[in-house]
């Protein structure tokens, strides 16, 4: 298991709370809360070590489209970058519903 932490600049607009996913094989759970310091903080616990660069790239691509300030916590059980991107997208939809 590896624990990663990233910090990104964010828009003034705050994200809304959302929870999505499951810590099951090839899947992940995401908890999103609004951030109070106009930054987006991401904390990732992943069962697969050694993919920090990939995580950073997937998150950067996501945040380019959704810059709302958020605290994002991810519990990952070996999801592929594609699955991660889909779950992030789903989280945004849930937060807006």
């Amino acid at each position: 298991m590896e624990i990663l932490a990233f910090e990104f600049p964010a828009a003034a607009e705050k994200a809304r709370r959302a929870h999505i996913g499951v810590v099951g094989s090839g899947d992940l759970e995401i908890l999103m809360d609004p951030s109070t310091d106009a930054k987006t903080h991401a904390k990732i616990q992943t069962s697969v070590a050694g993919f920090a660069t990939t995580w950073k790239a997937v998150l950067e691509r996501f945040l380019a489209q959704h810059p709302e300030a958020a605290n994002i916590e991810i519990n990952d059980f070996g999801a592929t970058p594609g699955t991660v991107a889909l779950r992030l997208q789903q989280m945004v939809e849930v937060s807006r519903s």
Binding site: R17, H19, V22, S25, E29, L31, Q45
Partner: protein, 290 residues
């Protein structure tokens, strides 16, 4: 020219059905409660997760795989506890087990205070979580004690639909329930097929032989041999209706656990020198119906 699809009645019926098996634990709890009454207790944002898994290099889940929700069933106060089978095989660790035991305890206290509170447990579980073995076993003992205390006040309904099924400690919890609802896809057994094969060999139990496994511990067999009270299709609406109807039925004449003399009689009629099939057991049960 217009194209008129000619789908069979079976296909149309299947396509209009909403699967319960495919729902996650949270959606199962929401499904079993009356519309708009779902209120989760100790949800993911409360972050009451297993402190033991990360120490052992395993990623935890924010709700520890157990969803506890208050709401109403058929207009009456109710608590629904749903296990998430995809997280650590629905295993019972300290946190998720304690959430379950405390939910039962609070439901009993509400009943004692004159607030009739119903209880449903939707199980997907491989049993105790090996990484938290001792604490898991202790909390399972608490769950049993609370179930026995609570079922005096209200029918306590266990729902087992699969795909994981219900094994180990939680299979005994199912045994303590007032009523058990199962689907054909579900399995209910103390030891899982792989465990039996590993311990006793392929001749005793062939875990890869699915028809054999289901003929022994599948929902249809469990229903036919009196370990389950209702056999339903994998249909969220039908399962919700089955639970509601059991609450309407109220307390049974006799709890399954009070029928131990009958079960002992049936078990002692079995000739253990030969391999029994599911059908043999159904027949033996019929011969010892009383």
């Amino acid at each position: 020219m217009t194209f008129t699809p000619t789908l069979s009645k079976d296909v149309l019926e299947l396509s209009s059905r909403r699967s319960y098996i495919e729902l996650n634990a949270r959606d199962r709890a929401r499904q079993l409660l009356d519309d708009g009454t779902f209120h989760e207790l100790l949800g993911p944002f409360d972050r009451v997760e297993s402190p033991w898994l990360p120490i052992q290099g395993i990623v935890p889940q924010a709700d520890d795989g157990c969803v506890v929700a208050k709401g109403k069933i058929d207009g009456q106060p109710a608590v629904v506890i749903a296990m998430e089978g995809k997280f650590q095989g629905g295993s019972i660790g300290e946190v998720c087990g304690m959430k379950m035991a405390e939910a039962f305890r609070l439901a009993r206290q509400d009943n004692e205070k004159g607030i009739p509170t119903r209880a449903v447990l939707s199980l997907e579980s491989g049993g105790v979580r090996l990484q938290e073995a001792n604490m898991g076993e202790l909390v399972i003992a608490e769950i049993y004690a609370e179930m026995v205390a609570l079922r005096k006040y209200t029918p306590l309904i266990v729902v087992i639909t699969g795909p994981t099924g219900c094994f180990g400690g939680m299979s005994l919890a199912a045994g303590l329930a007032t009523y058990v609802v199962m689907t054909r896809q579900a399995r209910l057994s103390m030891n899982g097929p792989e465990v039996i094969e590993q311990e006793a060999g392929k001749a005793e139990f062939e875990a890869s032989n699915k028809p054999f496994v289901w003929s022994v511990n599948g929902g249809a067999q469990r229903y036919a041999t009196g370990f389950a009270d209702v056999l339903v299709e994998d249909d969220a609406v039908a399962i919700t209706a089955a639970v509601r109807d059991l609450f309407r039925k109220g307390q049974p004449a006799q709890l399954r656990t009070d029928q131990y003399e009958l079960f002992i009689k049936r078990l002692s009629s079995l000739d253990t020198s030969k391999q029994w099939t599911g059908e043999d057991i159904r027949n033996a049960w019929k011969e010892n119906a009383q």
